[in-house]
């Protein structure tokens, strides 16, 4: 069973349907339910401040999931909230599970960074099993993570090179939406579900 954290983050149906190709999935905000899952996914679209506000009753549950070594996948904003803070909403603390700040793209012609872009694999990660280097994934975001610790496994270029996939112990996160990235995205989700 894969738990999808419910915090009013918009379209949860796609990620649920994608997971259900490989395993059962439950959308929930109940701590016990989440802790009984084999893996947990933190989806996310929207605004950093709003997301942290909606996540606040779940912070304790997420910390327990991480310390229990349950594999955890953050997607898009669900990646960004793992960090300490974001330029999108100064003064609001993130989950702080990975050190670093979320910053806004500067000097780019178009924002948001929207569409298909390639991911350069810079470090081994089980999420990339069977996925070719420089494969395309679907992105839509205006901010990116800037980690202060060594956790970057995939990078993408938009104006500059930014971390698009990170992995720290049992925490995995992608800036792109694997559930919207066609067959290759589904392969990444399958890889996450099959983690031991």
């Amino acid at each position: 069973m894969i738990g999808i954290i419910d915090y009013n983050a918009g379209n949860l149906r796609s990620i649920k349907k994608a997971i259900e190709l490989y395993d059962k999935a439950i959308i929930t905000k109940n701590k016990e339910d989440l802790l009984s899952c084999d893996k947990v996914v933190l989806p996310g679209v929207g605004n950093f401040g709003t997301a942290m506000k909606n996540l606040s009753p779940l912070v304790n549950a997420i910390n327990t999931i991480i310390s229990e070594k349950i594999p955890f996948l953050g997607i898009c904003l669900g990646m960004q909230v793992l960090f300490n803070e974001s330029e999108e909403k100064e003064g609001i603390k993130g989950l702080g599970l990975i050190k670093g700040k979320v910053v806004r793209f500067k000097n780019v012609e178009k924002l948001p960074h929207m569409g298909w872009n390639n991911v350069k694999i810079v470090n081994d990660c089980p999420l990339f099993e069977g996925i070719a280097d420089n494969s395309y994934f679907y992105f839509v975001h205006s901010y990116y993570v800037n980690p202060d610790e060594n956790c970057v496994v995939g990078k993408t270029t938009y104006g500059l090179e930014f971390p698009s996939v990170v992995n720290k112990n049992n925490i995995f996160a992608t800036q792109f939406h694997p559930e919207k990235s066609g067959k290759i995205g589904l392969k990444l989700i399958e890889n996450f579900i099959e983690l031991i």
Binding site: L111, P112, S181
Partner: protein, 274 residues
């Protein structure tokens, strides 16, 4: 590198695809879910469903189509047509759409753009602009400029681009360039720009319109209306500065495949997802 996007558009009425299509190899040519899957396999980068069902009571049929599509197709899906309220946004997003496109309702109630982007995020608010050339005589240019309109020299004279609503049936007097800037301020995440002069002509996108709108906002712009061959798509990207190209007939009638269009562009140096 960020690629340019090719986006098929399906017109849907009462849950079925309308406008004839040549998908004779499909079991049911009129089923949007099957067509969506077909285009996904062909390499579509996103999909747009445009609901042209006349009555709001039939919304539940659209919801069902979106739900069934989201079970099978794992690329971004934009849904537009008759969406008027935050509640409409919520229902269609919950059914599995990723973005909502609004046109008439944005013009009539610009605060809907702002509210929807605050609640659901800018990335799911697409403002569709239907624009038509409004030609002016040379001696009128100064006074129309003073009126705040943006005048451009085009192949056959001078014009400004006027925003139309109600599926192209009603003019608004609004300048499309100004309107694009306004919806960007209000929080839109993308602009779907249709040239009414070019729509259905297969003579190419309105490059001047596309370029001028694309230059005046930071938002990604989807060019629409007029695609007849791969060269047109290439032009929209290179000269029109479009980020994506929307097309319907050229694909539905199998004049070209998505792959052929993408290869044509890629061979000429446009980044494409092949």
């Amino acid at each position: 590198m960020l690629t340019k996007r090719i986006i098929p558009c399906l017109d849907i009425k009462d849950g079925r695809v309308v406008k004839g299509t040549k998908f004779l190899n499909l079991r049911d040519a009129g089923d949007p879910v099957e067509l969506a899957q077909y285009y996904d396999d062909e390499g579509a980068d996103e999909l747009v469903f445009l609901d042209i069902t006349a009555s709001a009571e039939k919304r539940s049929i659209l919801i069902d189509v979106v739900e069934r599509t989201a079970e099978k197709v794992f690329i971004p899906l934009t849904v537009g047509g008759g969406i008027k309220s935050i509640e409409d946004f919520r229902m269609i997003l919950r059914a599995g759409a990723d973005k909502i496109s609004i046109n008439t309702s944005a013009v009539k109630n610009p605060m809907l753009v702002k509210e929807a982007s605050e609640i659901f995020g800018s990335q799911c608010v697409v403002v569709a602009i239907d624009a038509k050339r409004h030609y002016v005589k040379e001696d009128e240019i100064e006074s129309i400029k003073e009126d705040g309109k943006n005048i451009f020299k085009v192949e056959d004279g001078y014009c400004w681009f006027e925003v139309y609503i109600y599926g192209g049936r009603k003019e608004t007097g609004i300048d499309a360039v100004n309107w694009a800037k306004k919806v960007e301020e209000l929080g839109a995440g993308e602009i779907l720009l249709t040239s009414m002069d070019k729509d259905g002509t297969k003579s190419g996108y309105d490059i001047i319109l596309t370029r001028e709108i694309s230059k005046s906002v930071k938002l990604p712009v989807i060019a629409s209306g007029g695609a007849g061959k791969p060269e047109h798509v290439y032009e929209a990207f290179v000269e029109g500065k479009a980020d994506a190209s929307l097309m319907a007939g050229i694909l539905h009638y199998k004049e070209y495949t998505i792959k052929e269009i993408k290869e044509y562009c890629a061979e000429r140096g446009i980044p494409m997802r092949l």
